[in-house]
Symmetry: C2
């Protein structure tokens, strides 16, 4: 896992414009937002799905960068004063604090464009038509029926009562869509049939939901120092979470159930899916 | 031209998610930002380039929507308080005034994703590999070496002295890159060779620059009511413009020179390029 994380770090480093190129301050801020932090869960999922699909690592670099750039842009915009108004991310001041709000806005905008550029810069699929479909998949996962839409529902939910199905829909959009896209894009860099792609997609749905359940548990239990971002924020903002709806014990159980479902979806892949299985375990048992 | 404008309006209407679909307020705000306003210069350029390239109108709908959605997202973000802080756009309150800042941020983010989705949703080029290249072209034109980068340079320039070459570079990035992409994407929906594409690209460079020169003249001379946005803003913000650097008379001359160059680039296309020629004229002689 550490090998892939280093590989992804190097790929992101190459993908991001140099801070020597104009506009320098913007490029410096983009590098600040993306490099040297983060668990790289989405790139790890893309690489693990790629391993299950027999994909070339050079292709997976591009897919991994694309999903991580989308994730990084969403964090920069979510932290802005008009959204979550947060000052700490990955143990560092957030982009609008370290630079300024206008720069943070443009950093997010620029990172989103760069994600699509990364996914279109080289041949990634055996058939070019499949690559067009990959670009479309990333767009849908990032847009208002995916991540951006989930964020809008999340904002509207502050201080509002929410049922478990409503909470689930929000997370499926806000976090789940990009996690699914990470697995799909990694897998499509390789050579799988529709049935195998569908099983990996089911794996991704379970892992995406588990990720959020564990996030809620950690937010409720961990300290700011361990998380590298402001802890206890959900309760302070009176936001519905899996913990507020289910309690910590049931939320932990749910995460374990989702982990088991994720492993079941991998049954037919044998040793090729070892890394995907390990990631499901990591996502559920992580403590940060 | 009015026919194409209606056609584009209908295509945008279909492309944007319905305000009946969750998140409703976000989708309503996206429709507010895009529909029922704007000259649709970029879609008109895409359609006119497509006519010169023998492209099917169904393909051009997608290309036209993509470039207009990018343009619309940039207006929403540029108007936000941390950027230009403007309250009026296309004769209506800006999105963050009519809705709120968080919604405006997500509207822009969602519109950018939707642009790439529109460009990837159907077959647009004879070869799928050419369509991947089209998606990449739009990403580069929108990103920090294009539109978003130009905006960063523009922000940094407020109250700063700027030479004519610096001003030109800023506009080539901020406005020119997307205008070039509009022509390129429209042309690539059809069937042209590399030489013809290069000539259309030269046309697009001239028109892009002319567009900005005329914008500066109009901002200096027109009233807010005619423009549908706040007039005289550049001078009030002490921003360098073609008018502040060259004076109105020389700026008008420059626009005419660029118009002539644009027409020269179309010489070999004959009657197929009539609409491109008309658009160059329209862009230079417009009064709003």
């Amino acid at each position: 896992m550490a090998d892939i994380q280093s590989r992804v770090e190097a790929a992101l480093e190459r993908c991001l414009p140099s801070a020597d190129h104009a506009p320098r301050r913007l490029h410096a801020a983009m590098r600040y937002a993306v490099l040297g932090g983060g668990k790289r869960v989405r790139p790890l999922l893309a690489f693990a799905a790629g391993a299950a699909a027999g994909a070339a690592p050079e292709r997976l670099d591009a897919a991994a960068c694309a999903v991580e750039l989308i994730h990084a842009y969403s964090l920069v915009h979510d932290d802005m004063p008009c959204m979550d108004d947060d000052v700490l991310r990955r143990g560092k001041p957030t982009v609008h604090v370290e630079f300024d709000e206008a720069t943070a806005l443009l950093v997010g905008d620029g990172l989103q464009a760069l994600a699509f550029e990364a996914l279109g810069a080289q041949r990634l699929a055996d058939e070019p038509a499949a690559q067009v479909e990959m670009l479309r998949t990333l767009a849908v996962a990032s847009g208002t029926r995916g991540m951006a839409g989930g964020q809008a529902i999340d904002l509207a939910a502050v201080g509002q009562p929410m049922t478990l199905p409503e909470l689930e829909l929000m997370h499926i959009m806000k976090t789940g869509a990009l996690i699914r896209a990470s697995v799909t894009l990694g897998a499509r860099c390789g050579h799988l049939g529709a049935g195998e792609l569908a099983r990996l997609d089911h794996y991704a749905k379970c892992v995406g939901l588990a990720f959020q359940v564990v996030d809620d548990v950690l937010d409720a239990e961990a300290s700011t120092a361990t998380l590298g971002k402001t802890a206890g924020k959900d309760a302070a903002q009176n936001k519905p979470t899996y913990v507020s709806l289910l309690g910590v014990a049931r939320a932990r159980e749910l995460a374990q159930e989702l982990r088991r479902d994720a492993h079941k979806a991998l049954a037919d892949f044998g040793a090729h899916a070892t890394r995907l299985g390990d990631l499901a375990d990591f996502i559920v048992t992580r403590e940060f």
